[in-house]
Each structure stands twice: as C-alpha cells, then as structure tokens.
C-alpha cells in the first residue's frame, strides 16, 4: 500500500468546532455528569458522532459508524438514568469496538475481504456485556486484518492514520480503537492484544491501553487470531477510565473455558494514593540497542517520577527476552493457521472459484480473501505444525515459553510491577516497515513476552519525542494484579499532565 501524502493536523482546522466539548471528557467525568444529570447520553453520543463526522475522513478510525444504533442506545441509556434504576458505570458512555468483536446484527469484518459481508446472528460476550451495561456503540474500529500487524497498515478495508500526525501509523493491530480514543471520537474503546496490539497503538496514539491477564476477559465473540495469547482490553484517555472499561467486561464467562473464575475487584477504587512500598522492577533487557533516545529519555524520566512518588526502583532481569519474538511467531502463527481454516467459503463470507469445483473454491476463496500478511502467517504456522517439523518448531516454542514465564516469576520475587518502554520507537511513517515483515515483527519486541506469560500489561502516555509523537510507558503486573497497574498508573497520571495533551486535530 502506498502511503498517502502526509497531511498536517492543521488541515482539519477549517471545519467548524464541536461546540459541546463533551467528546473531550474522560469516562469518569462523563459518568459523573450523567449520574448528576448534568448531561445526557444522547448529547455525549452526538458530540462523538459529530467529531467522527468531522475528522474520520482524515483519520479513518472506523470501518462502520453505527450512528442509528448509537442514538437508539443513548436514548435507552437516558431512560435508564432517568428511571434511576440499573445504572452501571458505563451506562450512556459512547464507546467503539475493534471490528473483531462479534456484534449481533452489526457487520463484523476483521478488516478482511474474506468477511466483508459478515453480519453475525449471535452476540459476543464483550458486546453483550456492554449492551447490558447500557454503553453506546458508536462504531466498529479498523485494525490490521485478523489482528495481524503492528501498524494497522494490513487492513484490507481502510486506512487509519495517527491523529497526532496523519503521516504516521497509529500502531496495530488495534489501530482504529486507539486512534478513535486519541481523536476523541469515542470516550473509550476496546481492542485485543495478542503480542502488543493494544499497548503499542496506545503508545503510538498517546492514550492508555491495557491488556489484562489472559483469561480475565472472555474471548467468546472475539474472532480468534492466536487463542492462547489473545486478550481483550480497553483504551481510554485516563487510567480511571480504563479501569471502568475493564470492570465492565471482566469476569468469568461460562462460554469461554479459559476465562478465569475469580471475582472482579472494583478497579476504580483505591486509586490516587502514593507509591510508598511499591517496588518497580526495571528489566535491563528492555533498555536495548535500537531504543530511540527520546523514548529512553522519557521513560527514564517517568521512572524518576515514580521514585519521587515513593516507589523503589529495582533492577530485574528477564534473560530470555531475546527469544520472545521467535517464540511468539511460532505459537501465534501455528494457532492462527488452524483458527483461520474456517474461512473456506462454505458457511459465510467470501466465496470465489466455485465454478471450478470444490478444491478451487477453497484455494481461490482463501487466496483472494486473505491479505499478504495473513497468508504469510498461515503459511508459517502451517509449516511449523506440519509432519516432521512440529518438535523443532512448535514444541520447542512451547518450551521456550515456559522459560519466558519463569523469567517473570523470578523477577516478581523482587518487585511488584515491571516498568519499561512500550515500543522501542514512537510511531513510524506509513510504508516505513511494511516492506520487511521481520522488521515489523521486531516492533513488538517489548510487548510480546507479556502475552507469552499471560500477564497484565498497560501502556500510558509519558511524554513526546522531538517530532511531537507520543511515548508510552509500559507497566507489567503479576497475574490478576491489574489493580497494581492502575494504582501506579493513576499516581503517575495525577502527578503529570501528558494525558491532558490532545492532538491539534481534535475540536476544542
């Protein structure tokens, strides 16, 4: 894909401003105003829809804007609030969903030609829980096709730009979910993270993005990329907003055998304390060669801030980090090669070549329906599982995965949370890495281990590089200790103002 000519953010300025300003609210502030009946869900929703209308031609966060549905849901939420009954933290809050969440009656494409016309007749758990909570769906967000990519350039159905500078990618794979929140087109959104697909775009777009512990959020209704790694998580402009979003969807689901059956705490409570007694581990393997100086400088400053807030910094080691990318690209592609077998033109989605018989129908539907990166990964995964290679690749990777998990178990004996950069670089320009698959894979070098170990990880804004592009601070926690990430994140957020900076394209 040839990048469009770079446009500056000022090109949006000619359009009229979004008068209410409600799209600028954090989720916690919107929830407070809704509860106090200072504003209505419909007003909030209209503010987001008009911001989408104003800016999405340029940014391209959405594959589908569900304006009618959103207005209907907003009115229902307002009625619920008026009745004073059954009000949940997200009742009336406009949100966006990555287009791999199954939404009953709303086209769900995974940004793939092979699902271009797929309208689910069933509801996924995340979409269902959000609907039950009274959240308002404004649209389905763009992504790398089947969540395979780190830049959002692999979408077959649309191009998403970074709201901070449209010459840059938003990161991937949940690029549209991140850009929608960064561009204040929705107050929050959800994505999935298989190797960094929430944290990296959160970092590139300057918002908070959290990948919870594997199993914390149900995967029922999440179109699978790599089943043992995929996890659902939120994007928000604030830590407290992200905490509220996680709380709304977390918890055991009898329809997902891998979902964890432990109670969900109130993630929004107990935030805002200092960090006395908190040991922050700094892994030397995450401050690597190739780390951009600006990124390293911002993250070091952030670590100093945490220390200032009472935390104790400790050196830790994660010695198998250098093997994580290789391990990941076997495990993830092997699972993907199997998960993507069902796109065969028989029961849904694209079908071509049927006039040439069954074999041609399979081969052509899949060749024409999948993009290059998806095919590359299906091929790699198929190869790694094929007769004679299983032990050398898949079995080996599962064993190295054990070593990577052990690294974290040992590190967490010495600390409560691990801090590092989210990406080695800030957002890059369109086309910069898309010609070299391996270079693109290495973009995820600092986020992948978290998925292999199943741990919670979060990215939050911690400053900007010399080009004005956001830098992300990554926090990694112990299993099911999302609260620690929120606690540290909130303390940092309260003591800094990075989260208050918004792209100039956003209407004030």
């Amino acid at each position: 894909m040839r990048p469009r000519p770079a446009t500056t953010t000022s090109s949006c300025r000619g359009l009229s401003n979004n008068v209410s300003g409600l799209h600028l609210l954090t989720i916690e502030e919107a929830a407070r105003r809704l509860a106090a009946r200072e504003t209505s869900s419909l007003e909030l929703t209209e503010a987001c829809l008009s911001e989408i209308e104003r800016t999405d031609g340029e940014i391209g966060s959405f594959l589908e804007v569900t304006a009618d549905l959103a207005r209907k849901q907003a009115k229902k939420a307002d009625a619920r609030i008026a009745a004073g009954k059954d009000i949940a933290p997200l009742t009336g809050v406009p949100i966006a969903l990555k287009d791999l969440f199954i939404t009953e009656g709303v086209r769900t494409t995974c940004a793939s030609k092979i699902l271009h016309n797929f309208v689910p007749t069933y509801q996924g758990t995340v979409a269902g829980r959000l609907a039950d909570a009274g959240a308002v769906l404004v649209g389905k967000a763009n992504m790398d096709e089947f969540a395979m990519g780190s830049s959002c350039e692999n979408s077959a159905l649309g191009r998403t730009s970074n709201p901070w500078n449209t010459a840059y990618v938003p990161g991937g794979s949940s690029g549209g979910s991140a850009s929608a929140v960064a561009a204040r087109q929705a107050l929050g959104s959800y994505g999935t993270d298989t190797g960094g697909s929430i944290r990296l775009p959160a970092s590139f777009c300057g918002v908070v993005g959290l990948k919870p512990t594997y199993g914390r959020v149900s995967r029922y209704g999440v179109i699978a990329f790599a089943s043992s790694l995929d996890q659902v998580g939120p994007f928000a402009t604030s830590i407290r907003g992200a905490a509220a979003l996680l709380g709304a969807v977390a918890g055991h689901d009898p329809r997902d055998s891998t979902s964890i059956d432990t109670p969900v705490p109130d993630y929004t409570s107990g935030l805002g304390s200092d960090l006395k007694g908190v040991r922050v581990g700094v892994p030397k393997e995450y401050f690597i060669e190739g780390l951009e100086p600006d990124v390293e400088a911002r993250v070091r400053e952030a670590l100093a801030k945490l220390e200032e807030l009472g935390a104790e910094l400790v050196q830790v080691s994660l010695p198998h980090t250098e093997y994580a990318v290789a391990t990941y690209y076997i495990v993830a592609t092997a699972e993907a090669s199997s998960n993507l077998g069902r796109y065969d033109g028989v029961r849904f989605g694209l079908r071509t070549g049927e006039e040439q018989g069954l074999a041609a129908m399979y081969g052509r539907t899949r060749d024409q329906g999948f993009g290059d990166e998806v095919k590359r990964r299906i091929m790699l995964g198929t190869y790694a599982l094929s007769a004679g290679y299983y032990d050398a690749y898949y079995l080996k990777a599962m064993k190295v995965r054990t070593l990577i998990r052990r690294d974290f178990i040992q590190a967490f004996e010495r600390c409560d949370v691990i801090a590092s950069p989210t990406g080695a670089t800030t957002a890059f320009k369109f086309g910069e890495r898309s010609g070299d698959p391996l270079a693109m894979y290495l973009t995820d070098v600092l986020t992948i281990s978290t998925n292999l170990a199943g741990l919670p990880g979060m990215s939050q804004p911690c400053g900007f590089d010399s080009e004005g592009m956001p830098v992300g601070l990554q926090l990694i926690g112990k299993p099911l200790d999302e609260q620690m990430l929120f606690k540290v994140g909130a303390a940092f957020e309260d003591a800094t103002d990075f989260h208050t900076k918004i792209p100039t394209s956003v209407a004030a």
Binding site: N117, F118, V119, T121, Y122, Y214, G215, S228, P254, S257, T258, I260, D261, H320, E322, Y323, V325, A326, Y329, S337, G341, V346, R347, F348, G349, R351, E354, E355, Q356, G357, L358, A360, Y362, G363, R364, R366, D367, D372, K375, R376, M379, L380, T382, Y383, A392, Y393, L395, K396, A397, M398, K399, V400, T402, L403, R405, P437, L438, Y441, L452, G454
Partner: protein, 95 residues
C-alpha cells in the same frame, strides 16, 4: 532454513491457498528469512523443560448436559453464499 518454491507449494496445498507464482516467489524469500531468525531458538537447551500450551492453570468448569439452544436453522445459514432448504450448498464433493 531455506524454503524452496516446492516447499512453499506443498505448505500452500496443506493450507488450501491457491497462490500466484509471484506470491510463491516472495513467500519463499520471506519465510526463509523468518525461519532463519527463528533458528535462534535452537541455541537454547530445553531438554528438561515442560512445554507451556496454556498459561491458565485452573481446572475447566464443565457444562451441564442440557439442550439450551433453540432450533433456528435460518440463523445458521443466514450468511451462507449458497443454501437450499437450510442445507449449505458446495460444489460436489468427490470421494
């Protein structure tokens, strides 16, 4: 690890991908490079290491044996490219 064009064709057959010749060309190069990178795993001794297939260590809750779904074949075939009397229709399967 170098993947020849024939290797790529064989894998593509397994994966039911009818690739163009140009795709075979580029995939052979890409996959060889990626597999070359992955070879670094061989450096690690893992003889006595248990494999991790899943990070979830709990026991799975099982489902009670009850019919909970209502019949709705229309929904099942709603997205199908070709159907007849609620069957999916495919080009003839040759045994």
């Amino acid at each position: 690890m170098k993947l020849t064009h024939d290797d790529v064709r064989k894998v593509a057959r397994l994966a039911r991908l009818e690739l163009e010749d140009t795709e075979i060309e580029s995939l052979s190069a890409d996959l060889s490079a990626i597999l070359g990178y992955i070879e670094k795993l061989a450096e690690l001794g893992t003889d006595n290491v248990e494999p991790t297939a899943s990070v979830v260590t709990m026991q799975a809750a099982l489902r009670a044996d009850a019919v909970t779904n209502t019949r709705n074949p229309e929904k099942t075939v709603a997205n199908a490219p070709a159907t007849r009397n609620h069957y999916f229709v495919v080009p003839r399967i040759i045994e």
